[in-house]
């Protein structure tokens, strides 16, 4: 009645479970096989199994929201990459300067210039296309900067804990208490000579606390997880616990946040440029800057502002859609 092996005979054995063969039955024939396999055992890194990211990818492929976002971003990336060849005209050439008069400051759309020109007589379409590249550079670099800073601070806070955690998180709290855009303005305004680098730096710093707090939170939930306890029970040292057991299990939400922050970075960069805190040199077109310069003509020539605004909205939407569906796909609760 209390012998556990007595119960096995009455229970059905699932055929797909390779465990159903008894441990003893297999002992004999395994020895021969082992010798052949030992040779290749050392190379653990090649040919890994299906990781969590791979299973997430399987779900994403069938997710229409993700696909729409991905198509937008893919188009954006392609345009940004081949912009100089795609643009019909030199974005700096003042081809239409002859048509700019005090009465008509914006050249109308015309053959060869489907969107018309800007108030300096430059082709609007070419400027939008080349502006994609600038927007991408600013958005990606600012996000990566914020991600890096957040990873460092979050790992310190969540991995070491104690007073380190306290100090880091109080700094983060202070940063979060200032509205992010306001802080980006303040940081960008510190620099006497604004450039695209000051924009990137300002936005990156603003994103750091978001990433740091997110990473710290998921690191702390990892610290009390069973597998960290199991690793500790095997005597694994603290750095290995943090970097092998806690960090890789915690970056999922941070990466997802990264795609969402890309959208925010692009919007923030546009906002900075719009307010004149961006690159003052308008020979390098950037969407936010174009939008800012166009506001003077908004009543009479709204299209000059609408086109860059539309570009910003669509690209930000693309990143947001991608980020949201990525978050869902990586959510352990919805995964099976």
């Amino acid at each position: 009645m209390t012998d556990p092996t007595a119960e096995t005979g009455t229970s059905p054995v699932s055929p797909e479970d390779p465990d159903h063969r008894s441990a003893f039955a297999r002992m004999g024939d395994r020895r021969k096989r082992r010798i052949d396999e030992l040779a290749e055992a050392g190379s653990l890194s090649d040919e890994r199994g299906v990781s969590l990211w791979q299973s997430a990818w399987r779900r994403l492929r069938r997710d229409p929201v993700f696909l729409i976002g991905a198509v937008i971003i893919l188009l954006f990336l392609i345009v940004a990459l081949i912009a100089p060849w795609l643009a019909p005209h030199d974005p700096r050439a003042r081809d239409l300067i002859g048509q700019v008069t005090p009465a008509t400051p914006i050249p109308d759309p015309q053959p060869g210039y489907p969107l018309g020109g800007d108030n300096a007589g430059r082709d609007l379409l070419s400027r939008l296309i080349v502006g994609a590249r600038q927007t991408l550079i600013v958005g990606v670099l600012a996000t990566l900067g914020g991600l890096f800073g957040g990873l460092v601070l979050g790992t310190l806070a969540g991995g070491i804990g104690g007073w380190v955690d306290n100090i880091v998180m109080r700094v983060v709290d202070v940063m979060l208490s200032i509205p992010s855009l306001l802080m980006a303005f303040s940081i960008a305004a510190i620099f006497a000579r604004p450039s695209q680098w000051t924009v990137i730096l300002a936005i990156a710093i603003v994103q750091v606390p978001v990433f740091a707090r997110l990473l710290r939170g998921s690191m702390i939930s990892q610290r009390h997880s069973d597998h960290v306890l199991a690793a500790r029970s095997l005597g694994v040292r603290a750095p290995a616990i943090v970097f092998r057991h806690m960090l890789p299990n915690s970056v999922g939400p941070v990466i997802v946040q990264g795609t969402l922050v890309l959208a925010v970075s692009i919007i923030d960069a546009a906002a900075l440029s719009f307010l004149g805190l961006g690159n003052p040199d308008d020979s390098v077109p950037e969407w936010g800057q174009m939008l800012g310069r166009a506001q003077v003509f908004f009543n009479t020539y709204p299209h000059v502002a609408v086109y860059p605004a539309l570009c910003i909205i669509v690209v930000a939407l693309g990143f947001t859609l991608m980020g949201e569906s990525l978050r869902e796909a990586l959510d352990p609760k919805s995964r099976r």
Binding site: D19, A41, S51, L234, V236
Partner: protein, 355 residues
């Protein structure tokens, strides 16, 4: 504390104990809210011996094991007493010294094999990690040894499995892998905390058979923590029954099953479903839950749920004393009114089935 079992009441057995736990007490919280999860627990584990810690949820089994491993959170609890392992008090070691011993001298297997494995790291890296840590092996050697270990615990095609992630393995395989990790450095003591609870019955039996085989082969001592007396029956040499953080009965396995003395042990045995029982017959549970406990200070904590409660049970705390009336040597019992007969020998009385 007036009722602590002194070391004098502990029966001296043959051979030097490998692990000697004395008056281990774990208190959570402090002041008025303090809760004693483990209360002056003492037991020995001799080399090669398998000792069971048995009891229901909340009786302090897991906390005992975590306290021995020093894996309880550093704040919010107090651990007193001593845990001598091979002559050294583990509770007084520095964190670094203790970390060196975990996995090398003392290892542990946990209840849920899926959540005990790191989901984003291939199995091979996780098994190899222990070897790299304690044996100083390089990645290649550790990988080859890891394959041998997986093979030893009965995982087919170990080289392929090493590259896989925990979620690609079945529950039984995961637990096998965890056993391989725990035994990788041939520890002298293994603590298994309900290692079969999360597995289905067929796999449970295999894992127990595997544990038994490995423990016998390597001479590892085993502390088996379980609520399942079936597990105890198949594996343990000596059984400690815990209730409310204290040991209420200790006996050798056969003696305990043949002649349970504490009403709680009797209740646990009576609650096991039996094939010989008539169809439609209700199971016999131990009535109530741990929440019904009264504190040990004022009497017997089990009294409110006890079927053989007498007046003195609520007035005086029973001591853990040698029990000479029970079957077999070295028995300890903490009860004012022990069972006189095995509850399994006859049908449960009306008192025992009261809800």
């Amino acid at each position: 504390m007036t009722d602590r079992p002194g070391t004098s009441t502990y029966p001296s057995g043959e051979g030097e104990p490998l692990l000697s736990v004395r008056d281990l007490t774990v208190t959570f919280g402090r002041g008025a809210k303090a809760f004693r999860a483990v209360d002056a627990v003492s037991f020995d584990v001799r080399p090669g011996q398998t000792v069971g810690l048995v009891g229901e949820s909340g009786c302090g089994k897991s906390v005992t094991s975590l306290a021995i491993m020093r894996l309880l959170p550093s704040r919010g609890n107090a651990v007193t007493g001593s845990v001598h392992f091979d002559g050294e008090d583990l509770l007084t070691l520095s964190d670094t010294q203790m970390r060196d011993r975990r996995g090398r001298d003392v290892a542990m297997i946990f209840q849920d094999p899926l959540s005990s494995l790191n989901p984003v790291v291939p199995l091979g890296v996780q098994v190899a990690e222990v070897l790299e840590r304690h044996r100083g092996m390089n990645r290649g050697d550790a990988g080859r040894r890891a394959a041998e270990l997986l093979d030893k615990v009965g995982i087919p095609d170990p080289t392929r499995r090493l590259k896989e992630y925990p979620h690609q393995l079945s529950g039984g395989m995961r637990q096998r892998a965890l056993i391989a990790m725990a035994l990788a450095c041939e520890p002298r003591l293994l603590i298994a905390d309900e290692p079969t609870t999360a597995l289905d019955v067929t796999i449970q039996a295999q894992i127990l058979a595997l544990l038994k085989e490995l423990v016998q082969e390597s001479g590892t001592s085993l502390i088996m923590i379980t609520h399942d007396l079936g597990v105890v029956a198949g594996l343990c040499d000596e059984v400690n029954v815990l209730y409310g953080g204290r040991i209420v009965e200790r006996a050798r396995r056969h003696d305990l099953f043949a002649r349970p003395r504490h009403p709680y042990t009797g209740g646990l045995l009576a609650s096991i479903p039996r094939l010989t029982e008539g169809k439609g017959r209700r199971l016999t549970p131990v009535p109530g839950s741990v929440a019904d406990n009264i504190p040990w200070e004022g009497g017997c904590a089990f009294a409110p749920r006890c079927s053989s409660e007498i007046e003195v049970c609520r007035e005086r705390t029973p001591e853990l004393v040698p029990d000479h009336e029970g079957l077999g040597p070295d028995r300890l019992l903490r009860c004012h009114n022990p069972l006189e007969s095995n509850p399994l020998d006859d049908a449960p009385s009306d008192e025992e089935v009261r809800a």
